[in-house]
Symmetry: C2
Subunit: 185 residues, 2 copies
């Protein structure tokens, strides 16, 4: 399987030093087949997160129109993250020291932040009846996505002893929803 082969190689030699050819070869498949399943090498680092964002989009899509927007986003985000165990940390986040590639993997991670931001913005736009390119909508969506991102990052870096991701996300939401004014006293 491509993901397993990639995980092994990344840990053995680092992300940058691993080529797509090597991954395909170890998985016993041709280079082109790799691109049938993943559109970029960096996709392999974010499988868990990508799935979580898909689920978030799903949850938000099936949220009733009347619901208060912020609470709805929080609950959807917590639901998605509730059953993500300690073993499902994205490769890029746990192994960034081993792979020595924090900088290289960062920009691909940011693409996920942006996608989550889009998902949330779409929802807020619908729920608040405001245009999709509204400053309020985009500020809030970016802020929320940024907070969730921080939760994942800190969670991953807390290592073995870390608690449940859901607690981190919950705490991050608290920071931004009740306002930075009070949080940053």
């Amino acid at each position: 399987m491509l993901e397993d082969a990639a995980a092994e190689l990344f840990l053995e030699n680092g992300y940058a030093a691993t080529t797509i050819d090597q991954i395909a070869q170890r998985a016993g498949v041709s280079r082109n087949t790799f691109f049938n399943y993943f559109s970029a090498k960096s996709d392999l680092l974010w499988v868990e997160l990508d799935a979580a964002i898909d689920r978030l989009a799903e949850e938000l899509r099936s949220t009733a129109s009347g619901r208060p927007a912020l609470a709805a986003v929080r609950e959807a985000a917590l639901r998605v993250v509730a059953d993500i165990g300690v073993d499902r940390v994205p490769l890029a986040l746990t192994q960034d020291d081993v792979m020595g590639t924090r900088e290289e993997t960062r920009s691909s991670g940011l693409v996920r932040l942006a996608r989550r931001s889009d998902v949330i913005a779409g929802f807020l736009s619908r729920q608040l009846g405001r245009p999709a390119d509204d400053l309020l909508v985009l500020s809030a969506a970016n802020a929320l996505s940024g907070a969730i991102s921080a939760a994942w990052t800190v969670w991953a870096h807390d290592g073995i002893g870390r608690g449940a991701l859901v607690d981190y996300v919950s705490a991050a939401f608290a920071v931004v929803s009740s306002g930075l004014e009070s949080s940053l006293a």
Copy 2:
């Protein structure tokens, strides 16, 4: 000059269709010289923003330790942005329709969001006496950087008739600092 040559070519042929060779050639310089001044093609899109982030870092570095953290960030951000006129919109933001490259330029833009986030996180960490990888610090920094980013985006897309960037940034700050709870009523 490299930036001018690039701007012309991007507008003529689009970002993706423009090669570094072409840029260097039009600027009357060798391809390698290009890489002496920019480390990536996408750097050319964000010259204004990069400078603004540098200045933000500067401002924050020279902020007294006692100051309330959030107010200090807001004021620094507003100061930096105060003298950015309607003509200084980053290429990637104004011309993304002309260049037809919104997706391609996005990830390089996100790298800037992350850098600004780092700058803010460093400041908050110092100011609040909390570790740099603290959840509160990172959540707040990401949220603030995300809001600022939204401000730039909306400002750029508002086209010719847009007001001063500083107003957009100010509004974006209001959203996150007083709390999403109240903003998203």
